[in-house]
Subunit: 704 residues, 2 copies
């Protein structure tokens, strides 16, 4: 490497990040526009039938039609995920979080996953399910970043031969952090919110340079989104056009000191509802894991949920006769008259006959008289229940929008109450309280604070309520945290993924590395027989193997627990590549003449290493030797056996390690500590008591 | 420790953070209100004289008065800092950054420093110098945090006996991060900007929980500020009142795709001017360090700068006859008529006869016709020169506002040019371009991007230009980085502080730990003679000493370079306390009967450890022993001697270490690596070449 190649590499990094931003935004635009256009077709078609059938008394027909169309989309969404790529299920944010924590989530960033995620979420939203498209967009951004930054696609089987210097975990992780930020920026049009979300929720490591690149990525993504959508809205090039704001432009909203208790109160309610939501969802997920195992059952469940959703909507529209006059200011796409008089429309139908995002917008901005408190209340209960059941289905689905929508519903109820109490005081704006309620609910479910405040500020184009939003969100988070974890962390725990928390469990200063380390340790020698290596690789699933000096027990004392004096560390992936490349030598002392496997070759295989299935070795090869000395890491991270758990944990966490060798005073190997070992010990302190939880870890389609 | 004590500790942390936010905001409010009120008195008084003297032809009198008043304030500001507390000079942000990087900056957080900083910056602004009060407010916030979180004040000599659990570097650092954020939040009324500034510029370590507390601190600070200032403005309790925005409310500003090249162009100009500014300031600082050494010379320089500033202002007002009609919409406090006709005022005088902050507001919001391009241009040149000379004087002074003001000046020029070219097109708003120019200039000087974008968004209450600001800031930063470092980093380097960069210098994979380590290593035995400990402490300045096993050379081989087998590590501060407490024993094997010094005692001394001046030891005490075994850290971080520099660096940086023991294969001590060792190696890559710089490090009043 030369200085100029470093400069080139630095510039390349910015260029790659630029394209990540652009591509992520383009994918998001495509999803957005598809959803809006097809939704229009769907509900336009249904409206025609309903309008006709109300008079002709054939309402079962539009109901069946609605059911059919929705289930059709839901079926596609579910089949894509269930049979196509199960890792694309759910919002994807928990998995991206795990990846950034240092876990190698299998198939997370494949091109196929990206496709299934994007097409899947379009279909789920079109199916009318209680899902959002924002979480999947974050995952899409991450996948785009992982793909673009490697300059090759193993799925498509080609390699551009560029960007080889970024083919390692650390570089890739930095790009993925940027991609996730770009995803948020594209999903909400919130570039700063994107950066903050990536930092608050995703990132496990922190670096100023990385932050600037994330920021750039997020900004490019927002620019691209604005350029495309401003053209779509017929305002070409107007990058600050109000219509680009996802949740509609809020005018300046004043608020006074006296409202702060109300905000705090709403934060508490949101925290409580959120905790209850998470708890319910946890039980549903546990049930699902136990009883809904086969693929067809998963698809069936999606269809059932879809039917229930449509039926609930239809019953509400049919039963609740909430008629409002159709004013010129209402921008309702498909006002359904139902049993209302001429010139009026059914306000409940308006809530169901649009995307969830449009419903959020309606609750934020409709005039105080538009919604009947009873119908909003009913809608809230129905929707929160549906959202809770839906999240975790075998479809690509986000939780952001459903949470915001149900929160906006109860928030608006609070606002309507205040409006009536104060007889229409200027500060008691139901729209404002809908926004606070939405924030509070999502804060209680996802336990996101800073970034969510910024996202809501950016999507409503309003800064003046910022402090109110922050207060509500922090309250909701703190209240929720008293009961359980956020929904993303809960998902991670359920999946048994060994995500490391931010700090070691409390009160464990007495625990030492030797108390938790795994032994016996599988060690290899510097020059090892091929047959030994093969059997070690076949019999264990360890990812790293300590190498020891030839004379197995060095020193004078000969510690009984020792596995030999540490020489270095070799990775499973390296061994696999060496076997594949047949870099063998015949003599047990190694041979210098052997041409070594180059760094290029190692990079070529990244990140999908060869498997044993295709390898065959002759008897002669099996009895020859592998000289590991050119490839071993001579100074792996080690920890003394007497080190406390917090110190071990800190080393592991700060450096993002996957395995750590435990040594005794003589630098001899006595044990190994892996990510799983550490992730297993978790504690939750609440209200003066402490629970130590030993997590059942283990791969659900996840390679560790 | 019990679970309930942990819960209590968690709650205490939030409570402490709350009070940090409140106190920081109160200090900021006090400074703010003092500055505004006394400025009014000052310029009101001067206006009276000028108005009288223009007709009576005695203009030398108001000039001398102006000179006198300004120099009086500047004198106080300078004496306070120079004779009172030199560490309070400058903006304080570089030092806070160093502290958060892990450097123990002496006297940085004393009560006296806080007082000098706050009173000093008030006086410097009142002296009419080209300074801002924002940087010092950040430092004040940090000092408040460090003070409040420890529950004691050594300056005042009392100890509340509370918060003892927070008396350690790591906890204190987390609070200081929060305090810095609260400082920004209070300085600009920008809570999100505060968090981001703390994360982007300050923080060296990253933790989700810490982020939430910083966020809370920042929010509380902004709330307190709004409550106090809304009362001051006569709008009690109106927390979203527009008048609270520092730089005035911007209405929604549209911008189109076609303006992006202009923004990028302005970013490039800002980056260039910023780089030039930094370079000039660097040379001035070097000159100052060499020739302006004595205290009186420092005070004298401040007086000189103050005289030049006032004279420049007066000459401009006298010579440039830029008369504008006094409209009803202009909110100029003291319109000076000078030689203008009745009903008109001198537009140049209006720029000088107010705080720099008010001038920024004027350039952002005045009508297109208010300012004459020539006078704005002249003002820019004068001001940028003055700001460059002023920054680094021995006064408490920030760079934010001067940079924004000079940027706003040239930005407005660009805007005026576009306005004339397009004959008054709606998009060519000079105010908008003044904002972009201000951002670009500050971005070029301080190289802050994300947080500055957010701060400007929050202080103008306008989101729609967000993307434009981001683009300009990133461009300015990238362009500036091609030439030199940001002004804060430059300051740190000049002061010779061993701040560790984010990553190791490039192209140093070949360098090993043993190449850079310091040796011989001063080691101690587990039970050491008091006289030995004393002489070691007196003869060296090391902060940590490796302990070795009694049998100095263990093992069979007896490595010549080894200083003994590693037993643990003891800190200088621990040794000092043990000596002070006279925890001696008479036998060289130690004694179990000796009552050990408790953790409580160690905490009591934190962070000011005893010095030798007060300690006297009898001959008998000198020949007795210190049993270090109960206090030593048995598992200090070590690195193998063959480890590469990047790996050593990463370990050091990620864990925030101050010293690292280098061991050989047998776990014997062969060297030590300190922060200074690593900070010395720096490299700057630019345009295909690489400079390796070996920094001259060493304390300028800084204890390492």
């Amino acid at each position: 490497k030369t200085p100029s190649s470093l400069t080139k590499q630095g510039i390349t990094r910015w260029v790659v990040v630029f394209f990540i931003g652009v591509c992520t935004a383009l994918i998001a635009c495509t999803i957005d526009i598809c959803v809006v256009e097809i939704t229009k077709l769907k509900y336009g078609f249904l409206k025609k039938y309903i309008d006709k059938c109300v008079t002709e008394n054939c309402l079962y027909m539009p109901y069946l039609l609605w059911l059919g169309i929705s289930c059709g989309f839901a079926f596609i969404a579910s089949v894509l995920v269930t049979y196509g790529e199960p890792v694309a299920a759910g919002s994807g944010i928990p998995l991206v979080k795990c990846y950034l924590n240092g876990i190698n989530v299998h198939r997370l960033h494949r091109l196929k996953t990206l496709f299934v995620k994007a097409a899947g979420v379009t279909c789920s939203v079109l199916g009318g399910l209680a899902v959002g498209k924002e979480g999947p967009m974050v995952h899409s951004g991450a996948a785009v970043a992982a793909g673009l930054s490697q300059g090759k696609s193993t799925s498509l089987g080609f390699d551009f031969g560029i960007l080889k210097e970024f083919r390692c975990d650390q570089e890739k992780r930095d790009f993925v952090t940027g991609g996730a930020a770009a995803g948020v920026a594209a999903a909400f049009g919130a570039p700063i919110g994107g950066v903050l979300f990536s930092l608050e929720e995703g990132s496990s490591f922190w670096n100023q340079n990385m932050t600037w690149r994330i920021f750039f990525c997020s900004m490019v993504s927002a620019f691209t989104l604005n350029v495309v959508l401003s053209a779509y809205h017929g305002q070409i090039g107007q990058l600050a056009y109000d219509g680009l704001l996802n949740f509609g432009k809020f005018p300046d909203i004043p608020f006074t000191l006296l409202e702060l208790p109300i905000f705090i109160g709403m934060g508490i309610i949101g925290g409580l509802i959120g905790a209850l939501f998470n708890q319910m969802n946890y039980h549903i997920s546990v049930f699902r894991r136990r009883f809904i195992v086969s693929r067809w059952a998963k698809v069936l469940e999606v269809i059932v949920v879809c039917c229930v959703t449509v039926t609930a909507g239809f019953v509400m529209i049919y039963c609740v006769n909430d008629c409002k006059p159709l004013g010129p200011k209402d921008d309702i796409d498909f006002p359904i008259q139902m049993f209302c008089e001429d010139g009026q429309f059914n306000a409940v139908a308006a809530m169901w006959f649009q995307t969830p995002e449009a419903s959020v917008r309606a609750l934020f901005h409709d005039q105080p008289g538009t919604h009947n408190p009873l119908s909003v209340g009913l809608f809230f209960i129905t929707y929160v229940f549906l959202a809770c059941w839906t999240y975790g289905l075998s479809i690509s689905s986000g939780i952001f929008i459903p949470a915001l929508l149900s929160g906006a519903a109860w928030g608006r109820l609070v606002g309507l109450g205040l409006y009536r109490l104060t007889e229409g005081a200027a500060w008691a704006d139901p729209g404002k309280y809908a926004l606070i309620g939405a924030a509070s609910q999502l804060g209680g479910i996802a336990r996101v604070t800073l970034s969510l405040a910024v996202i809501l500020i950016e999507t409503t184009g309003n800064l003046s309520l910022g402090l109110g939003l922050m207060l509500t969100l922090l309250t909701a988070k703190l209240v929720g945290d008293c009961f359980n974890a956020g929904i993303y962390d809960m998902n991670v725990q359920l999946a048994g993924l060994p995500m490391l928390p931010w700090s070691s469990p409390p009160l464990c200063y007495g625990t030492q590395a030797r108390d938790i380390m795994s032994k016996p340790v599988v060690v290899l020698r510097e020059v090892e027989r091929v047959s030994t290596v093969l059997s070690v690789l076949e019999e264990t699933r360890h990812q790293g193997f300590p190498l020891i000096f030839e004379n197995r027990f060095s020193g004078s004392q000969g510690n009984q627990n020792s596995f030999g004096m540490l020489r270095g560390l070799i990775l499973r992936s390296q061994l696999k590549i060496l076997l594949k490349e047949k870099a063998f030598c015949s003599s047990p002392t190694g041979s210098a003449s052997q041409p070594p496997v180059s760094l290029e070759t190692f990079r070529m295989y990244y990140p999908r290493y060869p498997t044993f299935q295709g390898m065959h070795f002759t008897e002669e090869e099996r009895s020859s030797y592998l000289d590991l000395r050119p490839y071993l890491n001579p100074t792996p991270y080690t920890v003394p056996m007497h080190a406390s758990l917090p110190r071990t944990f800190q080393l592991f966490r700060a450096l993002g390690l996957r395995h750590l060798i435990v040594t005794d005073d003589n630098n001899e190997v006595v044990g190994m500590i892996t990510r799983k070992t550490l992730a297993r010990y978790r504690a939750r302190i609440c209200c003066g008591t402490i629970d130590f939880v030993e997590l059942p870890l283990g791969g659900h389609g996840v390679q560790l």
